[in-house]
Symmetry: C2
Subunit: 335 residues, 2 copies
């Protein structure tokens, strides 16, 4: 009885929360954005491309918006979360690999020396990624990712990893979709690392996720066809790879693109080079108090002075997290 009662109370509370959210949305589709030039710029762009008869009108089918993930939709400090996942997997797999005790980068990792392990640079990272991301079926990998993503905590904030997503950006995704946009993720991260949770968290279904990938191969297992994940790079969806990935996957040039680092530069340039109204936005991490402050000097999510100059020259929108965002992180969607 008690449990039944609690369920009803929870349901009632949820209805209340959702109606409040609904009412707030009706007044302001971007409640977590402070009023100002940045927010106004977003609203103005959406108004002019959706207003029939406007010289900037864009038919619904062509309203493609692409979003980087790491540093744009969720945090990326102190290291990419997919690397956290890989490091966790090394621990899980270690008992099957006694040889790792003597072999770098695994030996350092297993001693808890992450910095030492990563000192091997890209080859070391690639090796960690391959042993943790390949050698299983796509269905198995999906389950492994789901299990981790729903239990992992951020190493600094100790919050659930899915609470490290940005509330203002989640609102922006919903706002664009409510205005007939189709929203895509275009990330340097692994496509199959993102797909298991992007629908729940961002409202973006698997078929609208573009990312880096390893090769897969059709095999029969117990008389059933499965796709095995091979330890071989298929595609790197970063920098000049982003327009290539966009074309391969979407087949249309976006009219709006959202990023936060040098890795997104070519995506924004490619978007801006189309004809008609375009919108390009970069999130600048300048909020050491509520999140992290980094830019030109950071190895992860580098926002170079060159990129800042280009953004100013081309009148791209640069979001100051400190000034433009009322809240940063979103509440855990599962609570």
């Amino acid at each position: 009885m008690m449990s039944q009662c609690r369920k009803v109370l929870r349901a009632a509370a949820l209805v209340f929360v959702f109606s409040s959210v609904g009412a707030a949305m009706a007044q302001d589709p971007l409640p977590s954005w402070n009023d100002g030039a940045t927010k106004q710029g977003i609203v103005d762009f959406v108004a002019k491309v959706t207003q029939e008869g406007s010289p900037d009108y864009v038919p619904q089918a062509e309203r493609i918006a692409t979003f980087d993930n790491d540093g744009t939709l969720w945090a990326e400090q102190p290291i990419y979360f997919q690397l956290l996942f890989a490091l966790h997997r090394v621990g899980v797999l270690a008992p099957e690999h006694p040889e790792w005790k003597e072999k770098e980068p695994f030996a350092s990792l297993l001693k808890g020396d992450v910095k030492g392990a990563l000192s091997g640079g890209e080859p070391a990272i690639a090796e960690i990624i391959m042993v943790t991301h390949a050698g299983m079926t796509t269905d198995e990998f999906e389950k492994i990712v789901k299990d981790w993503i729903t239990t992992a905590k951020h190493p600094v904030t100790k919050r659930p990893i899915l609470e490290m997503t940005y509330q203002p950006m989640v609102e922006l995704l919903a706002y664009l979709r409510a205005n007939g946009f189709k929203t895509f993720i275009v990330s340097g991260g692994g496509i199959e690392f993102m797909r298991p949770w992007t629908e729940q968290v961002y409202g973006i279904p698997p078929e609208q996720v573009v990312g880096s990938s390893i090769k897969t191969k059709l095999e029969m297992r117990d008389g059933k066809p499965v796709l095995m994940r091979l330890p071989e790079i298929n595609f790197i969806d970063d920098k000049a790879g982003k327009p290539v990935g966009i074309n391969a996957h979407i087949g249309r040039r976006p009219i709006a693109a959202f990023g936060n680092s040098d890795g997104d530069r070519q995506m924004l340039e490619y978007t801006a080079a189309g004809s008609g109204a375009r919108f390009c936005l970069l999130v600048h991490h300048d909020d050491a108090e509520r999140e992290f402050a980094y830019g030109a000097e950071s190895k992860i999510g580098t926002f170079s002075e060159d990129l800042m100059t280009e953004a100013k020259t081309r009148a791209w929108t640069v979001v100051s997290m400190k000034n433009d965002w009322k809240t940063v992180f979103r509440p855990d969607p599962s609570r």
Copy 2:
């Protein structure tokens, strides 16, 4: 005045045609399919996966249906239409390539000897494809395809090439979408050869087309980023490649798959191997009078005895074009 009058008359006629079509659709969503087990099987499957509360109910986001193109959505005899396009392009490009007069497979082609040119087998075909499909930007290629597809005629029927699409399958696509399915093309044909016209003809937008591809590369031209098409295979979306392409592009296993040949076998097997209700269909070309009759002996669109046996064993639907289709080709959409 006359022209104004004609326009009004045409508009009125169109309204009349569309209302009739609308009324017919309300009665029967598949008017070009003869009543019988095949049609009933399609309707029953759609009913059970869309009926809330049914044990076979599938949430809308998971209603993924994949369609082969050549031989399934449009004809493929006497040769794949993309090869017709390539042969046409060789003629257009010949003045820039005087060396082709002495070089096979081009020399035979330019003498009108298609059979001789293709006698070089796959390497000859690959060479023809590369010189006609690479070396331009993606935007330029899109324009070339659009120009050809709207003017080309079928070599046997002399009908516009876009009238060689199948009316019953176009109805089936619309019927599935009306029931919350997301429809994808998964074809061995070139992804960028299909995208410029699939939305108009099948109602399938570019981002829902999966196909074979060549590599592209980001380059600057007149200060603007463009994607150059390179003479290098990126991916072959056929046979065991189809499940790989589906996973890479869609990231979900289809619940329904539609094909017509051995090239679709793995796609159907992969679809059937998922849990819950599944629907697999093969179009059998047995209608020499209205289209073409071919199967096990055909080099193009081979439907082997092995595949027929598997279809029967697994209770896949085999469409007899002769018996199941009231009409075969669809009217030119631009008329």
